[in-house]
């Protein structure tokens, strides 16, 4: 699907969409996919698993996340802004400046502060979500990537791809309190719902480093193995945990698989074949379906979670990056 070529088609879609919302038939919701080379979000209908339209947005959209009030927030690396989009209307509400080359971000639990990794400046930047004012800048290792706020909002974790560190930052003071050495090229993070463990995917380490949030020590390293793939081809990036914290879903990059992990046992239970360079993942509300973005095959694989098998592959934009499900 090419981005926004047919604005009439697009508005027809929107029109239909609003009609259907009125009729209550579309309650199933939408998966939104960002792609680096389209300057648009692609919308996939959860009922039909077909593309139902695109939303024009800022340039080189990457990290996509829901705000606490259920709006879509997309960081655009080339525009240096976050686009705040209302999923109900598909319209941009406002754009928030994020500085040069923002890559990933997370929000404080109250949604008032955006913590963003600025790849070019090697910094974690604190931005006031309401005014777009830069509140603080914390210097970190080169190529900061993943950003995660603790459940209580007091601690910020930022990965540095080059330094292979997770920086632990006190959000109140903006000070780095600890640098945790993890595997090579740390990318993304997930926190267990009990807040006790931080899981860090390490792209060039074919694994996940598991960190204790209590004392910032490394508890364990989980290494992935895929039959027929060598360690150097297993490059984990995206990660999400189930709401009960029992399972984690990790995209294995060039190994073209997504791994289901038993969190307590720290063991892989299933491997599901998806598209090329599986990048980021998202679960739907029922946690029955997993959406996996494939960066090098320009598509998204829908995975049936109970059956651990792929259901459908949907072509999306060029170099897709992130996915969020709204129901």
């Amino acid at each position: 699907m090419r981005p926004i070529r047919h604005s009439t088609y697009f508005s027809t879609c929107l029109f239909l969409l609003s009609l259907c919302f009125a009729a209550g038939a579309w309650a199933q919701g939408t998966a939104y996919v960002s792609s680096e080379k389209d300057d648009a979000l692609t919308m996939i209908d959860l009922g039909t698993l077909a593309i139902k339209g695109t939303i024009p947005t800022c340039k080189r959209g990457r990290h996509l996340q829901l705000t606490p009030d259920r709006k879509l927030m997309l960081a655009c690396s080339d525009s240096g802004v976050a686009d705040l989009i209302d999923p109900a209307t598909g319209k941009s509400l406002r754009r928030i400046p994020l500085g040069d080359d923002p890559e990933a971000f997370d929000l404080s639990p109250d949604g008032q502060t955006i913590y963003v990794s600025s790849e070019d400046d090697a910094a974690a930047v604190f931005v006031d979500a309401a005014t777009g004012k830069k509140l603080k800048e914390v210097k970190v290792g080169q190529e900061p990537e993943g950003v995660k706020v603790s459940l209580d909002g007091k601690t910020l974790y930022v990965t540095s791809e080059v330094a292979s560190l997770v920086h632990v930052i006190d959000t109140a003071s903006g000070k780095v309190v600890k640098n945790i050495k993890v595997g090579k090229r740390p990318r993304r993070m997930a926190i267990t719902p009990d807040g006790k463990e931080l899981w860090v995917t390490c792209e060039l380490d074919s694994g996940v480093t598991i960190v204790s949030t209590a004392d910032n020590s490394v508890l364990a390293t989980l290494k992935f193995e895929v039959k027929g793939a060598r360690a150097q081809d297993i490059t984990p990036v995206g990660i999400q945990m189930s709401r009960d914290g029992k399972r984690a879903f990790v995209a294995l990059g060039r190994a073209n698989h997504v791994a289901f992990v038993d969190v307590a046992a720290r063991k892989v239970t299933d491997l599901v074949l998806v598209g090329k360079r599986a990048w980021n993942v998202a679960l739907d509300k029922s946690e029955k379906r997993l959406f996996v973005v494939n960066g090098l095959s320009d598509d998204l694989t829908v995975v049936d979670v109970p059956g651990a098998r792929p259901i459908k592959t949907v072509p999306v934009g060029r170099v897709p990056y992130g996915v969020v499900v709204v129901e």
Partner: protein, 388 residues
């Protein structure tokens, strides 16, 4: 040049002598040629692919600067000292002086013979950043000599693999007049043979406008009379090769030293965080990052990896760790040194100078242990007799 680094090194040395330093400082010396002809202004301006774009110190320094956080977290320090040499003897003396001064590693951006003189003069490991000669990885290899820059054979293998994957099997080989060209042509021929390609004709060329030598100098005459899928040009100088694409009798691509060239790096590489690396380099050095700059940057990354892995040293521990170390070079794979010849195994980029067209190893190629070892001399060939 690089006074701050020197000053830091001196300060740290002072600290050491007071016996109060906690972590040891990893000292390294980079030896470069005096009045380096590769860095002549006119040479740099031409910016031939695969040629130096500036001093090697730039790349090493960028790596060390970006590692400050990592070093601090590990409580480690690295001190880099520059040295210049005008002859192999001077290079040897500089290396010995550095070793005496406590250097844990020597970095060289020198011609092959000079590199060898350095490797034979010291007991510490030597990181070769500047010499791509196969001889240093084969008959003249040394137990403590490591190579960051890909060998000529790796470059030739990368091109041959690409040609195979395109099914461009029939080749016209054009070879330049100097001694390096003869050697590199032999390397190209070996890669061509290994991958089952065919040379329909091999011809020498000469840079000339003399009408009596037009058969040797005119691209149209040189490329006439044969049927081929591609022209492989071997031209270490670069001027003839640059003028060859679009001037062949048949509408066929040029590969080798112009057209499609296999390199360790190109500033337009888009994947695996490469743009950030190229951007950092450009910010610091005010010029695009070349393949040689990448090799220098990787040497800096290697120093960082050693210092953070074994913050306390001493030199012997770093030397030991080097053989097993792996470094992230922003090409999407972890890279390590081959146990048999000290060459850094790595992905090669195929570039036309505008962007990166493809990568090698090509997709679908298999190898019993590591597909990166399809590029360059592999273990079973036993071309390096030195025990490491």
């Amino acid at each position: 040049m690089r006074w701050p680094v020197l000053a830091i090194a001196l300060l740290v040395a002072l600290f050491d002598s007071l016996g109060s330093a906690r972590a040891a400082t990893l000292k390294a010396t980079l030896i470069s040629p005096e009045n380096d002809p590769r860095l002549d202004r006119t040479r740099l301006e031409r910016a031939y692919l695969g040629h130096a774009g500036g001093p090697a110190a730039d790349g090493v320094q960028v790596a060390l600067d970006e590692g400050s956080f990592e070093l601090e977290a590990a409580g480690a320090t690295v001190a880099l000292a520059p040295a210049a040499a005008g002859s192999p003897e001077a290079a040897r003396a500089a290396a010995q002086a550095a070793e005496k001064g406590g250097a844990a590693l020597i970095l060289t951006d020198l011609p092959a013979a000079w590199t060898l003189a350095v490797a034979d003069a010291v007991k510490v490991p030597v990181l070769n950043l500047g010499a791509s000669d196969d001889s240093l990885r084969q008959q003249d290899c040394r137990p403590r000599l490591y190579h960051l820059l890909p060998s000529e054979r790796m470059r030739a293998d990368a091109i041959a693999q690409t040609l195979v994957s395109r099914k461009w099997n029939k080749l016209l080989l054009l070879v330049g007049p100097n001694a390096a060209d003869q050697q590199r042509a032999a390397t190209a021929q070996a890669s061509i043979k290994r991958y089952g390609l065919q040379v329909v004709a091999a011809k020498p060329f000469k840079l000339s406008t003399d009408p009596r030598e037009r058969d040797l100098a005119n691209p149209l005459l040189l490329t006439a009379g044969n049927a081929y899928d591609a022209v492989w040009v071997v031209d270490s100088d670069g001027e003839f090769a640059r003028g060859l694409p679009y001037r062949t009798v048949l509408p066929r691509p040029v590969v080798g030293d112009a057209g499609l060239v296999a390199l360790a790096w190109h500033a337009q590489f888009e994947r695996y965080g490469a743009p950030q690396v190229s951007r950092r380099f450009f910010k610091a050095a005010k010029r695009p990052m070349t393949d040689r700059d990448w090799a220098a940057w990787m040497a800096g990354k290697t120093l960082l990896a050693l210092a953070t892995a074994v913050p306390k040293g001493p030199n012997a521990a770093w030397a030991q760790a080097l053989a097993k170390t792996s470094v992230d070079g922003s090409k999407g794979v972890t890279m390590s040194f081959r146990a048999w010849d000290g060459q850094l195994r790595q992905t090669m980029l195929l570039t036309d100078g505008q962007g990166v067209i493809s990568q090698a190893p090509v997709e679908g190629l298999l190898h019993p242990t590591d597909v990166l070892d399809t590029l360059g001399a592999d273990a079973p060939e036993k071309l390096c007799k030195a025990t490491r």
